[in-house]
Symmetry: C2
Subunit: 256 residues, 2 copies
Amino acid sequence: MPGRNHKKLPTPLNKQPCVESEMQHLADFKVGVDNVIFSVDTAQNRLLVLLVMRQQEPFLNSWSLPGTLVRQGESLEDAAYRIMAEKIRVNNLYLEQLYTFGGPHRDPREANDSYAIRYLSVSYFALVRFEEAELIADKVSGIAWYPVKDVPQLAFDHNQVLAYGHRRLRNKLEYSPVAFDVLPATFTLNDLYQLYTTVLGDNFADYSNFRARLLKLGFLSDTGIKVSRGAGRPATLYRFDAEAFAPFKDKPLVFI
Amino acid sequence: MPGRNHKKLPTPLNKQPCVESEMQHLADFKVGVDNVIFSVDTAQNRLLVLLVMRQQEPFLNSWSLPGTLVRQGESLEDAAYRIMAEKIRVNNLYLEQLYTFGGPHRDPREANDSYAIRYLSVSYFALVRFEEAELIADKVSGIAWYPVKDVPQLAFDHNQVLAYGHRRLRNKLEYSPVAFDVLPATFTLNDLYQLYTTVLGDNFADYSNFRARLLKLGFLSDTGIKVSRGAGRPATLYRFDAEAFAPFKDKPLVFI
DNA sequence: ACAAAAGTGTTTTTTATACACCCATGC
DNA sequence: GCATGGGTGTATAAAAAACACTTTTGT
């Protein structure tokens, strides 16, 4: 499990520094990139993650995070964007590296003997707008948004990767303005509030205080446009003002 | 640069799913682990990072972060702990994964043609107690604590890795109790305060408020022992009480 | 008219910040 | 006795939390 670690050091093995002759003991790797792609269905207040059905061994016909192996001349980030481009059509997205899982035997393709190629996975975390995201279902391959609450058993250690991504998402939402990457360009304060409650659970300020706090920060600009959603008073549409937000960057600001 | 990313997706290249025939286009990797090892010299109020002088090409005779290549059957974390054990003798340490740097051409051993082996680096972040850390200088290899303020040009992209590690250290210190892994088992509140100012700069609460806040949290237990350091009133030694801290775990608590 | 959704304001409590002051020791 | 580092308290400002209330729409 990634995260904190407190351990005693093994007793130092008074060994020689790494020399050429040791080359043969080094592991050879293929490097995979797996994306944890989140979106929020504001209509149904559900946090979703994108899963694909595996078309090949190992774990044929298991759901898994969309992933790929890194190609020659391709950076890790390139690979992560390639996965996105293959699975989904979006105009905006937020993407950052998550964690690298690299223990031996995490991939069954690694034969039992220790001379086989190792498979290492660098995971990326992505956030896209649900409404404008168009899934690319190439031929019969399964691809679907799953509510994170009921994801099934996944291939490899992907449940663990997902759990880690979910934790990161919660943190990101609290400490940085990623929310505005998932919402449409203009949104109501209620949309924003729903997003927060959906992802974080409703253990934070009530709507009235949430509202007051955010407006005081001053990086939401009133578009003047009102939109009516069924009964009730129409809501004003706001727009995220990146320039006005700039001064808050890298501050330990929390806007729950 | 690791961190936030907003990008347009490339236009989706309507390609086939990854099949066996593509195996030959995949990159082959050796995986390195590099550790950013910090300690704090409380006597001189300096934040230090451990550097080693490279004994081999590439970057022979450049300072670099201590690192190694991952061996067969060894996990990434194992490799990180092995580096520690080879360079330093300590009783306690904090260690966690930092970031994975994996672009092509980040290592000059990668030949110019794109068919060569790629070198990927998984960095780890470590924190040790300066006073009890004993450096292991195997034969003539250079190894030294450097004040982070004046680290020289390092091998590879290690200056970048260090910068990222430094950022993580500052965050960790603010949001989690790592400080108690670097301090001796018993310490004065001034030791703790010095540590914070050294790492974070003194842009936070004055000593009196710092003190009041921490004591109110209740996870520092008074040992009753007083210690005198030159002139002035003797200070009480405190001990970090992990059990009393437990309820604060995973809370968005900030104790600056 | 009234329910539903949006938006405003007020009160109370808690936390942050600044700073004044007392305490114990070495020299 | 006085400089030095350790420790306590108070007064003020700001932020968080709770919640009552008004406004504007659809039906």
